[in-house]
Amino acid sequence: MTQKRADAMAVEGPHIASKPGRSSKRQSPWSLEKLPGDPMMWILIVSEIFVFGGALWAFAISEMLHPDIFREARAHLNIPIATLNTLILLTSGFIAAIAVRYANSGNLRMTRLSLLGAGILGILFMLLKIMEYWQKFEMGVGLETNSFYTLYFLVTGFHLAHVVFGLIILAILAVWPSKDNLETGTAFWHMVDLIWLMIFPVFYLMGVGL
């Protein structure tokens, strides 16, 4: 049917289509091929950055609309714990990056050990975060208290859910530590890191001294 007319031809860029004689293997700079790990992970990373970015904008706009509510609420944030948590997550990411190097050199024992280290720090982050929530609950503050706390619990809660999911991924990596798995799985963990780097300043650091 369609094959009768013209067979499928290899796809080349339009710059080649105009010069049929030449053939080169130029890839698009946006090709997913050269990215480490599974390409779908990068679709996820970009989507996550947009989602959290949107939430942070929503947060900043709300702060402009209700400065009094936000000023009052910000006074109750535990900044030292959040900073400590940032350091913990960054260190965990560092150890996860080391795990990839060990996996590349074929050292399975050290790969698993590094993943364990990254995971333990992840759990520590989780515990400190829960402690932080606990302080808020003890103040009688919840998800529906006001727009500050709704966004605070939603954004940090979504992030915490990613930490939990990341821990599961780290565990899976420890069981099946192939090179490809590690690149993909640790990319997720670094993404969790990256997202926290965006949340941390907007929620905890900006607007405090003002």
């Binding site: 990215l35 970015g53 940032t86 990411g93 990839v100 965006m198």
Partner: protein, 95 residues
């Protein structure tokens, strides 16, 4: 794509460590910035923190996520993160 050699550039562990030290110092510096109470510096501290986030995200993107050979993605991601944060900073700095 499975049988190919790793697409991660061969970053030495010493470089990873350097990256980690940078990240930690930037975090502590931004933490300190937030305690500025008054003065011009305090007014623009969100913007300075935003620049620090740009630096931190670039370190993570190159060193940890291995985006050294894919400049388009690297530029796009770090620019996106910076735009998000700097707009937040702008909104929060003018309060």
């Amino acid at each position: 794509m499975n049988a190919q050699p790793s697409k991660m550039p061969g970053i030495k562990i010493a470089d990873l460590l350097k990256a980690w030290v940078m990240l930690v110092s930037l975090t502590l510096a931004s933490f300190a910035m937030s305690y500025l109470e008054a003065g011009f510096l305090a007014k623009i501290s969100p913007l300075i923190i935003a620049v620090m986030i740009l630096l931190k995200s670039r370190i993570i993107l190159t060193r940890y996520l291995g985006l050294m050979q894919t400049s388009a993605w690297y530029m796009m991601l770090s620019a996106t993160i910076f735009i998000i944060i700097v707009i937040c900073a702008g909104m929060l700095a003018t309060l």
